[in-house]
Assembly symmetry: C2
Homo-oligomer: 245 residues x 2
Amino acid sequence: MEIPKEADLSTDINRQLNFYQKEDQALLAVDCIIFGFDKTNLKILLIKRNFEPEKGKWSLIGGFLKKNENLDQAATRVLNTLTGLSDIYMEQLYTYSKLDRDPGQRTISVSYFALIDVDSHQFDGIQIESARWFDLNEAPSLIFDHDEMIQKAIARLRRRAMTMPIGFELLPEKFTMRQLQNLYESILNKKLDKRNFINKVNSLDVLVKLNEKDMTVSRKGAYLFVFDKEKYRKKVEEDGFSFKL
Amino acid sequence: MEIPKEADLSTDINRQLNFYQKEDQALLAVDCIIFGFDKTNLKILLIKRNFEPEKGKWSLIGGFLKKNENLDQAATRVLNTLTGLSDIYMEQLYTYSKLDRDPGQRTISVSYFALIDVDSHQFDGIQIESARWFDLNEAPSLIFDHDEMIQKAIARLRRRAMTMPIGFELLPEKFTMRQLQNLYESILNKKLDKRNFINKVNSLDVLVKLNEKDMTVSRKGAYLFVFDKEKYRKKVEEDGFSFKL
DNA sequence: AATGATGGTGTATAATCGACACATAAAATT
DNA sequence: AATTTTATGTGTCGATTATACACCATCATT
């Protein structure tokens, strides 16, 4: 069972695995699945392509990796160029490499997902002239393997939302309990029980209830809450607390 | 809020995101985190490099993506070339792109993890002359960002083992309950209660107890079990069953 | 016959989850 | 002024799930 430690790899194997041809170089792209929430529905930001291939079709926002940046930076740059936004939560998802995924040329694409509070970030300027928010279940079918990317992104978003406090990235700083519940119902695509939800959220003890009501939402008005990031951080650090909804 | 649908992207943005330079092409590699289990300990397979850079240091097994294959195929090929094994469980993990991660040249690397039952797969032949299994916590420090890759792989393995029946990939076809428990204790890096573990496993109702004992393990011998893949598949399909340990 | 090492089994308590209904506030309507 | 409308806010109980825990059986060795 034990294997000699000092022997060398054969030259054959060395060559097979580690030599490369210029022609084996590939184009690396990033594609961003941008989720947004407008206090009611979960949405996704798409653009209509004005360039070939597949000009005129809807697609995710993407771009090519440049030689002086890493993938996270490329994803951030692509998002910023098209929306003007910075400081947005982003996370790498998966790398797609089917041979014919882009009919034009061999392209390997790394998908990222981003979370945006739609109402707090008004995009203006030229960047988004051909971009549009779609309700998740009303989005058109997309080019290449972008539909598959979205499915994987939704799955990841669901998992993350249950185990990390990332939902707050999709809400304004102050939000009502109902908005938070709407968000989770949109993400999970199912109704939740109001009292159970609130009890659970409160038991996490990471929200602060303000002495301030959102009066736009009903006659009575609803108390506003904020997520206490610092308190959350400390709980994780000191008590090994983990966010579970 | 609503954005015009028909407008075009500006030429500037189009150019910025979608034109590319030959020099932006990059080398794409795959690196494999190969986990093994020998009925007692969780192990990882490493090789001693006999080529530059970092010749003589331990590293993950890796290779370059070729132009006629996708990443899954590249990972499978790399594993097969070095171990002779095929039909091994593999899963893509994460893509690493720090500018200076490989001091030699700009390389983007996609990590994969693989699961192998050490005892059932005897490697022989030249492939593994400089390869060796290491206990997880006795592994040497590795080149580049390979240590980081391993940490992420362990985290993923833990999550997967709790929610998918992938542990069986690390065991021989027939195994004892104690071996299964040892496996989970190795993966989770903590002791589990014997009775609770067995009760939980049995309640999943996807193992078959054989009329056959492993007599090597004690005087009394221990019953052998097999994972009933077909039964598992049906439960998932028909009852929406999900594996949770 | 005694010893030693590992296998195999069930119950009781605590914690968590999930179902469930009514009163309150305040604006709008009559 | 009274009534209607609409969304807010709040607690309990039963079911399920998770956790803690101890003893006897088997059989090879001595």
